[in-house]
């Protein structure tokens, strides 16, 4: 059998493996947080404790829908980049970035409003509630930084390396979007 270098349709770059494994460990991290939420809930009679209203579904659901909508935008932008249409790729990235930044700002606003209603120092419910939201916001912020960096690099044109960066960034964002959905579901369903 001769070893010939054949052009392969889908070579997974090392960077993809790196991000996929990172996502796996991050997923475990959030799994632990979700598990803790239900563990604490099952140990308590009142959840949320008396005096704290259960989270209302409207804004979190609207926000998460907006955030998830950036996944197809990023997918289209990456497709454009793969075809060498760097202008479209930049525009797509910019759009996604705008939605995500808006999401983060709005989310932090809700976070601050919640802090006025109850505090993490009050109860285990408050502790895990704010820890989960905070961890989620930190991941959104990290994703925004990744994308900002990518956008700045794309201003200087496309390279193979930047395409890998694009692939990796979209993978991370798909993960963050799934997490956003799970965070909302856990917090709404958990507090029934």
């Amino acid at each position: 059998m001769s070893e010939v270098v054949l052009p392969r349709e889908r070579i997974r770059p090392s960077g993809w493996w790196g991000m996929a494994l990172f996502v796996a460990t991050e997923a475990t991290l959030f799994g632990t947080i979700f598990g803790t939420y239900f563990y604490l809930r099952l140990n308590t009679v009142y959840w949320p404790p008396p005096g704290i209203a259960a989270p209302r579904p409207l804004w979190p659901l609207v926000l998460v829908a907006a955030l998830v909508s950036t996944s197809p935008v990023l997918w289209a932008a990456r497709r454009a980049a793969l075809r060498g249409r760097v202008g479209r790729a930049r525009a797509g990235l910019l759009l996604a970035l705008a939605v995500q930044t808006g999401y983060l700002a709005f989310h932090l606003l809700l976070f601050a409003q919640d802090l006025d209603r109850f505090r993490p120092e009050d109860s285990a419910y408050g502790s895990i509630y704010f820890t989960m939201l905070g961890a989620h916001d930190a991941h959104v912020a990290a994703g925004i930084l990744l994308e900002l960096w990518l956008l700045l690099r794309l201003l200087r044109g496309l390279t193979r390396y930047r395409l890998v960066a694009f692939q990796v960034t979209s993978l991370y964002w798909n993960f963050v979007n799934v997490l956003a959905l799970l965070v909302v579901v856990v917090q709404l369903a958990g507090a029934r």
Partner: protein, 611 residues
Amino acid sequence: MDQIWAHRPGLLGWLTTTDHKRIGLMYLFATLAFFAAGGVEALLIRTQLAVPNGHTVSPGTYDQLLTMHGVTMIFLFVIPLTTGAFGNYLVPLMIGARDMAFPRLNALSFWLFLASGIFIYTGLALGTAPNAGWFDYVPLALKQYDPGPNIDFFALGLILNGASSTAAAVNFIATIFKLRAPGMSMNRMPLFCFAVLAVAFALLFALPPLTIDCVFLELQRQLGFHFFDVAHGGDPLLWQYLFWIFGHPEVYIIVLPAFGIATSIIPTFAKRRMVAFPLVAMAELLVAFIGFGVFAHHMFSTGLATVTLIFFAAASMFVVIPSTIQIYAWLLTVTSGRPEFKAPLMFIGGFIVFFVLGGLSGIMFAAIPFDQALTDTYFVVAHFHFVIFGAAVFPLLGGLYYWFPKVTGRMYHEGWAKASFWLTFAGTSLTFFPMHIAGLLGMTRRVYTYEPGLGWDTYNLLETIGAFVLAAGLLVIAANLLVSRLNGATAGADPFFGGTLEWTVPSPPPAYNFAVIPTVTSPYPNWDRPEAERGGLVLEEGHETPASTVRDARLEEILDMPSESPWPIVLALLVAVAFVMLLASHGVVAGLFFGLAALTLGAWHLQEPES
């Protein structure tokens, strides 16, 4: 080729290196330094316990020594030594690659690890080292009962340490999946690499619960959150759950690389292939997998439901199966070969003896009533030291001798090596075996001292004598290797006629490892074909290594590898400062340093391989 892969000279070259061999060596020296510290702590503990009513150290210091001994040996010695030093140095050489998949991330792993070690030891230097045991149970570890910064050193230090190990795990998996030499399909991969792969996956999924646990603890201690106190709806058992979900896979993370080293040394000295090669590979992966399903056997005495206990007891017994497969495979390989009992193989012999002993006492604990009777006695201490010292560290000592000629190009002294084996073997047995009896006689673990007349005196004295014999054995090993490094006979590329690829390159290996990338046709490529036929790619144009497909290892692409970089050490430094600020409760300053770290990451990725 030499020019392309040349190192920057001097200290700066080491600080900015991305060469997996240099990083492996730095890991080795750092972990050995921590091993020495952990050993001194152990000797102080044993001196304190040598006679009843001893007062060598104060009770407060004793708590710190006990905790630091556990933390050091597990997080700063065994894991970074097996993955960081052995894994880093050997995996690329064994799979025919020129470096790890992410060379700069590899450097970052090392600097973060070093920072975490220095961070935790700063606590000891200030007299406020962690002091609630290596498992750090709440409520003892909460602010009310432990108001100093002791536990904060523990929790923040372990988060930092976990980040380092996670980065290393990602790197190992990507390296093993992507960078195997053409022809090295999964079923031809050395068993040591299977062990590292299993460990890397276990680390990836076991560390997050520990990290989250430590984050919860810090939030509760520093900001007044409530995760672990019943009064506000928390639960102290939550700490134990999350800790042991990490803590039991951790045991296999510690012991699996030792299995891998055993399966490297045995075939070489038995002069035959490993018996049941695929079964052993599967068993290594299976041990890591089942390791996740047994954690609650650390909690048999916490009042969990009986159904839960039975599940975990059954799973704990199940681990015996893959472990036994490996034991039989090792024994059969030795007995069906023509074994030559040189020092490395003798250490493996000691390892098998200790592993069987520690395994048998471990299986007893899977029986719930036995566990409930003997938990927290010295019987447990005896059990896990046979496993962790006897079974995990003995192969490491054997491995130090085995690969010493490869790393240094010189032979160790065989006579002294054998003497060091007998000393450490006798020392280990004498230290840990009497602990079984003391435990059965009711001696509880972690006690500061004890009254005379309980029947424990003789055993404790024997254990202390054993500890010093063991220390003498370890010093002989260190002296042997140091002297041999300077005066040893020249070893040549392949002094033992080993089967795997690292023996095909000169000793010490050149910076690029393989002048010609080998083509692999069997698990023991060095044994089946003369050197001339092994060749394949040359790749002398640049800083490059080939990448191949995950399963079959068909050549896929040629990767341009990054060379030395200042960013990893800068990033590790910034993150370490941020953690110090977190320890001092300066959240804003810490945030500033994390921001600088993010900027550093941006700068890190400005350099592209094509440019």
